[in-house]
Amino acid sequence: MADITFWFISALTIISAFFVVSSKSLLYSAYSLLVTFLGITALYVFLWADFLAVVQVVVYVGGILVLIIFGIMLTNKISSVNISHTSVQKGVGAVVVLGFLGALGYVMISTPWIQLPNSEPLETTRSIGRLLMIDYLLPFEAASFLLLGALIGATTLSRKDD
């Protein structure tokens, strides 16, 4: 049961991700990205990472994707934009892709993966909160400071006068 669901979700994620890059319409790409994000959410659930799964929905589906679609819709004459799918620099591209694939494969094989027991952890939020607020407080605050800087920067840049 769990196996069938897992393969189904994985296939859905990969096929929709393929559709994102191959679709002729930007909006269709964006909506297949919605399916990809939801598929990734489901994969997080399979890893017992419930909090991360919901964060994925909030941040990517509810935030970033809405902004992408906003961007597409606010673009003037979006239907006349020519989306090109022809590849350029195929040889260099193939080398980069193969090199990247090799590096990823090597990392996947050589890493000593820790196999967690296949049972539900009691509560994930408590340990995540403990890690974020006690063990890794400085990186957490640094990241939030960086985001605040980016936010203020974007506002300043987009203001026309005063």
Partner: protein, 358 residues
């Protein structure tokens, strides 16, 4: 009684895990769907009656010997449903057919997912997850895509304007709603809806129930911010600028008719039900009785939880017939310059309150 319990029960009876899974999910899911349909039909009738009474009319009534809407007009809602179901389902010729057809489903899924974790009683909850509160907030944002999709696929400027306004409004008001629901999470130090409600049992000075809304001034304020933001998230008056009929015809729903439009309607009432349920569980003690210590059995819990939801839905209808619609800039002003600062101060205040008083 959760789905997990049912799956365990059926796995003893059937060999195939697939069969027991499908059985358990349908036994848990079909009542939820019936509940949603029932909620919408009853709410349509109540909304007609409430609006009529607030305007000093009598609303739908059975008249004369024919009684064509039944006594007190109770058959009006059936007439509405039949009318919607047999109406011609038109699709504009210049519409994006695929997205036009898919959009109602996405909105419906977004509304339906949230209802699955509502704690109807101490023993009746379809799925009991550790992060229930956060989950409801998250799946609420899935419906936005359906709205934007509907607006775009209709290929109509009013639909597109309505969809853009709706998306802007929902993602803006999600922030004060999310920041306000952090207050009960901080006080109960859990995101599980059942433990959150259990925390609220007991009483304050023996008279008031120990609900989070009465616990301290910050949580009192947080409830109102949450509830108003929730009303804004469901796109209801006075926050219904996405479908403002005087300027946008019906916003993103302009081109829809028949069953697809009925699905939008169903989702709107389902969304109202879910946000009212979350407000009831997070601030108003969920299935706990308002009289501390009395009437607290699971069956009474069901009654109290539904009473709280029905009351909150009634308040939403009350808003609709009392307040005029806001302008777009006023709407954004209220959200970003009033609600979000207050919600942040609330989080700060509750933190200090919890540190000093407990």
């Amino acid at each position: 009684m959760t789905v997990d319990y049912l799956i365990e029960l059926f796995s003893k009876l059937f060999d195939s895990p697939f069969v027991s899974f499908i059985l358990a999910v349908s036994i848990a899911g079909i009542p939820l769907f019936v509940l949603m349909a029932l909620n919408a039909t009853v709410a349509v009738y109540v909304e007609r009656k409430v609006s009529a009474f607030m305007m000093d009319r009598i609303g739908p009534m059975g008249q004369g010997p024919g009684l064509h809407a039944g006594p007190w007009g109770v058959l009006q809602t059936i007439a509405d449903a039949v009318k919607l179901l047999i109406k011609e389902d038109t699709i504009p010729s210049s519409a994006d057919k695929l997205l036009f057809k898919v959009a109602p489903f996405i909105i419906f899924i977004g509304a339906f997912l949230g209802i699955a974790v509502l704690p109807f009683s101490s023993v009746i909850q379809v799925v009991d997850i550790n992060i229930g509160v956060f989950y409801i907030i998250a799946v609420g944002s899935v419906g936005v895509h359906g709205i934007v999709m509907a607006g775009w696929a209709s290929n109509n400027k009013w639909s597109l304007y309505g969809a853009m306004r709706s998306a802007a409004q929902i993602i803006s008001y999600e922030i004060p709603a999310g920041l306000s629901i952090i207050v009960p999470i901080m006080m109960t130090s859990t995101m599980n809806l059942q433990s959150m409600i259990e925390f609220q049992s007991g009483s304050i000075w023996g008279i008031l129930p120990n609900w989070i809304i009465f616990n301290n001034p910050f949580s009192f304020l947080a409830f109102f911010i949450f509830f108003i933001s929730a009303v804004a998230e469901t796109n209801r008056t006075p926050f219904d600028i996405p479908e403002a009929e005087s300027e946008l015809v019906a916003g993103w729903m302009t081109e829809y008719s028949g069953f697809r439009w009925a699905v939008f309607f169903l989702s709107e009432y389902a969304n109202m039900f879910v946000v009212s349920g979350l407000a009831a569980a997070g601030f108003l003690g969920g299935w706990l009785s308002p009289i501390p210590g009395l009437f607290n059995s699971p069956i009474w819990g069901l009654f109290w939880f539904f009473s709280k939801i029905i009351f909150l839905i009634f308040v939403m209808m009350w808003f609709r017939w009392t307040f005029p619609r806001l302008r777009v800039d006023q709407l954004m002003h209220v959200c970003w310059k009033v609600f979000i600062p207050i919600a942040m101060l609330n989080i700060f205040g509750v933190g200090i309150w919890k540190l000093i008083i407990g």
